[in-house]
């Protein structure tokens, strides 16, 4: 028997809001979290703006003991705060650190696109090259191992079910939630903390700057720099943070009287095989369409049931193609496409965290009955112009919204799609 999966907790560390209340206030207002980053300017990046979460160190200091703080790098800090918030909003008690009990029914899939690049760049490489390997200390392995971010979480919450880290570039966060959904459906876990985390370090962003895929035209106006759907989009703005959802079987949630934010109605994961226009860096449009179709089929919904879309929409040349894929997948032409918005317009592209933070945004919109503004696209891209009426430049109240779809696409031609349905008991 397949179990229905619901969301009972949310946690977020985003460039425009650390914690769900501040994040949602920013979403409603269309408030950007993009700022000048001096380290990028000093290193002669062409793009010198990024989305960096604020107030994180103070919160980490409040919430975690000194020995925990000493072993966490950037992505661990973001993930730890987001998981703690998701845990608390799920109404669960944080386990005592000296407790001997293990929660065998709860696991975690916390992904990362890049991993512990800050540790590698700031500690492992300089000390190794200086012949001071011994001074690397004990913490680098647990920080740079791909699974370090989920391993950190398992200790904080005494998790005894599956604990792992997925990595599929910019679809990582979306994929993590899809994977956790399957585990709960199969009855292998009651609860799964799922999401993604990415550190705020210019060492991660350097390679993207070198690829000339970051926006280098808006350094003097950071809040205008992330421009998905716009004719003047000049590449994406890098970002950082973490998003986490607590997935739970419907039975478990109802049994303990948990607050339910939304249902995960369906999911789809696939790859374009670097064919039919797909490549390492570009999605195969046919695979995108199939991924969306698969998620809707999994939810037993038709294209007509989709009320809103939170796109991948990065502000690169791929945006018009993505709109074309949504239109094809939903078989809804100009003027018929559901409202489509881009959370990245406010937070930039948070890479492995993007799908997770944007899923949190999607769930908040569904629960709150609105679609947040997609900012910085007053000049809609000419190839998207026909669908302009579907783009909310201001907040749109949408109390009757029942279904919102979130998709994420990543290098490697990988795709993941989630269908969130309003929870009605």
């Amino acid at each position: 028997m397949s179990h229905r999966v619901v969301v009972t907790g949310l946690g977020v560390v985003a460039p425009n809001g650390t914690g769900v209340p501040e994040f949602e206030a920013s979403l409603r207002l269309g408030r950007s979290g993009i700022r000048h980053v001096e380290a990028m300017a000093e290193a002669k990046f062409a793009c010198t703006v990024a989305g960096v979460p604020q107030g994180v160190d103070e919160l980490v200091e409040q919430e975690f003991d000194e020995d925990e703080r000493l072993v966490m790098n950037g992505s661990h800090r973001f993930a730890s705060l987001a998981c703690l918030e998701a845990w608390r909003t799920a109404g669960l008690e944080r386990p005592a650190r000296d407790s001997a009990e293990v929660d065998w029914d709860t696991g975690a899939i916390i992904g990362t696109g890049i991993g512990g690049m800050d540790t590698t760049a700031e500690k492992v490489i300089p000390l190794t090259n200086a012949g001071k390997v011994r001074r690397i200390g004990s913490t680098s392995v647990e920080q740079v191992m791909a699974s370090g971010v989920s391993a950190r979480i398992s200790g904080q919450f005494a998790l005894g079910n599956q604990v792992t880290t997925n990595s599929s570039a910019c679809s990582t966060g979306t994929e993590a939630i899809a994977m956790g959904t399957e585990r709960i459906r199969a009855g292998a876990a009651k609860r799964m903390l799922c999401g993604g985390s990415e550190a705020a370090t210019h060492y991660i962003w350097a390679g993207f700057d070198a690829m000339r895929v970051l926006n280098r035209r808006s350094n003097d106006a950071p809040e205008k720099a992330s421009r998905p759907l716009s004719a003047s989009a000049g590449g994406f703005v890098p970002g950082a943070g973490a998003g986490v959802v607590m997935l739970e079987s419907e039975e478990s949630a109802l049994e303990r009287g948990a607050k339910i934010f939304a249902e995960i109605a369906g999911q789809g994961i696939n790859c374009g095989g670097h064919r039919m226009g797909g490549s390492m860096t570009a999605p195969n449009p046919e695979s995108v369409r199939r991924c969306i179709d698969a998620a809707l089929a999994d939810a037993s919904l038709s294209a007509a049931d989709v009320d809103a879309i939170n796109g991948h929409l990065t502000a690169t040349g791929a945006d018009p193609k993505e709109i074309g894929s949504w239109s094809a997948a939903l078989e809804r032409g100009p003027g018929e496409l559901p409202l489509i918005t881009a959370t990245k317009s406010m937070i930039g592209h948070t890479l492995g965290a993007a799908g997770a933070i944007e899923s949190v945004a999607s769930i908040l919109m569904l629960k709150g009955g609105y679609v947040h503004p997609s900012i910085n696209c007053e000049d809609v891209h000419p190839e998207i112009e026909a669908h302009a009426s579907s783009i909310p430049h201001e907040l749109r109240e949408f109390e009757d919204m029942k279904v919102i779809v979130k998709a994420g696409f990543g290098f490697g031609d990988v795709n993941a799609c989630l269908v969130f349905r309003k929870w009605e008991s």
């Binding site: 003991d65 000194e66 020995d67 000493l70 000296d98 011994r134 001074r135 200390g137 004990s138 913490t139």
Partner: protein
């Protein structure tokens, strides 16, 4: 440097890693770092690096193996300080 000053520095460096606060409150030269203070053995390398930085000394790997108690650490550091 007085032995008490070395002891104070050693305890300060160990403190964040201590899992047994009662043992820390009653810390003495005889207190065992792993068994009594419940410091995770993997973190000893970080503790030793911190000793080196705090006291501006170098500690060989062989010397590290001789440190079991707080007193062992104090003695080793004091010997390096001459």
């Amino acid at each position: 440097m007085e032995q008490s000053q070395v002891m104070e520095g050693v305890v300060k460096i160990l403190t964040p890693w201590v899992k047994n606060d009662e043992a820390l409150q009653a810390v003495s030269l005889e207190t065992n770092i792993l068994d009594d203070l419940k410091v995770n053995s993997a973190r000893l390398v970080d503790v030793v690096i911190a000793f080196e930085d705090e006291f501006d000394i170098e500690i060989d790997d062989e010397d590290v193996d001789t440190v079991n108690t707080v007193g062992d650490a104090v003695q080793l550091i004091s010997s390096k300080l001459g």
